[in-house]
């Protein structure tokens, strides 16, 4: 099937099978490899992207489902010269070790500070329930998110 999908404010035409998952279309066809496939069972959150402004796990969504929606991936929120505030905060707080979970963490963290008020460390930890860091580097991740929440 040929469909158009809007990713990072650019409309792409892709030819896909109905059973193609969003994360695979992003990675294999659009070369947007920031969304990672960690567990492929919708538990680790490494594939988190924004769909119409909310964080979702792109390994549990068919690409066909997003044909009329706006998708934003980690590549769409900033670049090396112009980091998103959440990316800067992760850098400042050394909130990454191997970096595999980082794109998903950042996309979920942005959803969290955008939609939750009065975030404290406990609420941030709860908000990261759907994201696993295999390096167990949560402490600094929470600090990074807390610093952005405090400025918001």
């Amino acid at each position: 099937m040929k469909i158009e999908i809007d990713v990072n404010n650019k409309v792409h035409e892709v030819v896909i099978e109905p059973n193609a998952l969003l994360v695979n279309v992003l990675r294999d066809q659009l070369q947007l490899t920031g969304a990672h496939v960690g567990c492929d069972t919708s538990q680790c959150g490494a594939c988190t992207v924004h769909l119409d402004g909310r964080a979702v796990k792109s390994c549990a969504i068919l690409a066909l489902q997003v044909a009329q929606s706006k998708v934003v991936t980690i590549e769409g929120i900033g670049d090396a010269e112009n980091l998103h505030p959440m990316q800067s905060a992760f850098r400042e707080h050394h909130a990454l070790q191997c970096g595999f979970c980082t794109p998903g963490m950042i996309m979920q963290a942005i959803d969290l500070v955008t939609h939750e008020d009065n975030l404290d460390r406990e609420k941030i930890r709860q908000g990261l329930e759907g994201n696993l860091c295999r390096c167990t580097g949560y402490h600094n991740i929470v600090s990074a998110i807390e610093s952005v929440a405090d400025k918001a």
Binding site: M1, E17, P18, N19, L21, D40, T41, S42, Q43, G45, T48, L51, R54, A55, V56, K57, A60, I61, L62, L64, Q65, A67, Q108, D111, L112, H115, G127, E129, G130, N131
Partner: protein, 266 residues
């Protein structure tokens, strides 16, 4: 995932027509259970009918006897919608404990109820609040909705349009949360409708059910202590890696107590 044909109808009648004309079709709501199930090849429908464009399945409004919630309403929408927060805070609270944030942004109340997962949270609310499920052709009482493990009173070519919840004077939900999945090992929703007490239990048996024995005791004496007098038999309860049937029976009492304490403000 096996291959299938994908359909995205724009009207309810069209969705039902596609369903009737297909070999082994399935309706897709949020997909938070269905897509992982298909990925594991535990489900292999020939046709997936995406309900996302059906406006009839959306919207939250006050109706004559309570609150009506469209089947496609996501868990996060239920958790934060002003009408739910104001008139049925127990449901908003329950919805905020489902899965994780990404799942709550996508999973729907209709999808959860239609799936009848024995450990899902919403079934406790449908039962405990005495709600009803509205399909295109009829209204099914919550008490008659869940039949067995992953089995409901929905006919094969049937879907949930909306759910109607009566508004209790007060209510509370308590669950023993599986640390990994967020599902309820056991969950109890207690509601007070002018002295008529309802208790909905999820997680314990093959599907959500009322705790009639506990309700009877509580209607005679609305106190936490009275639960010590109730026997909860574990016959027919689930036994798995997470908890034995005996432990689940114990949790039914513990969580009903917790919900009751919260409801009574103790």
């Amino acid at each position: 995932m096996y291959s299938f044909d994908y359909h995205k109808p724009s009207a309810l009648t069209q969705a039902l027509e596609i369903f009737q004309g297909a070999d082994d079709p399935i309706f897709l709501a949020g997909g938070m259970t269905l897509i992982p199930t298909m990925k594991q090849r535990l489900a292999a429908p020939t046709d997936v009918i995406d309900l996302a464009d059906l406006d009839e399945l959306r919207g939250i409004s006050l109706v004559e006897n309570g609150l009506s919630i469209g089947a496609l309403t996501t868990h996060n929408e239920v958790a934060t919608h002003p009408l739910v927060v104001k008139h049925l805070p127990v449901l908003a609270e329950l919805a905020s404990t489902i899965g994780d944030n990404q799942v709550r942004n996508r999973g729907t109340i209709g999808g959860s109820l239609a799936n009848s997962d024995p450990a899902a949270d919403y079934p406790a609310a449908l039962i405990g609040l005495g709600g009803s499920v509205v399909t295109p052709s009829r209204k099914i009482l919550g008490d008659d909705f869940f039949l067995d493990l992953f089995e409901t009173a929905l006919e094969p070519c049937d879907l949930i349009v909306r759910i109607e919840f009566p508004l209790p004077d007060r209510a509370a939900y308590a669950k023993f949360r599986n640390q990994a999945s967020g599902y309820a090992v056991v969950g109890a929703l207690v509601a007070d409708f002018q002295g008529r007490i309802r208790v909905g239990i999820t997680g314990a048996g093959p599907c959500a059910c009322r705790a009639i024995g506990i309700e009877d005791q509580l209607m005679q004496n609305l106190s936490v202590d009275v639960l010590d007098l109730v026997e909860v038999p574990d016959a027919g309860f689930n036994s798995d890696i997470h908890a034995s049937a005996e432990y689940r029976a114990h949790l039914v009492k513990v969580l009903t107590k917790r919900a009751l304490r919260q409801m009574l403000g103790e």
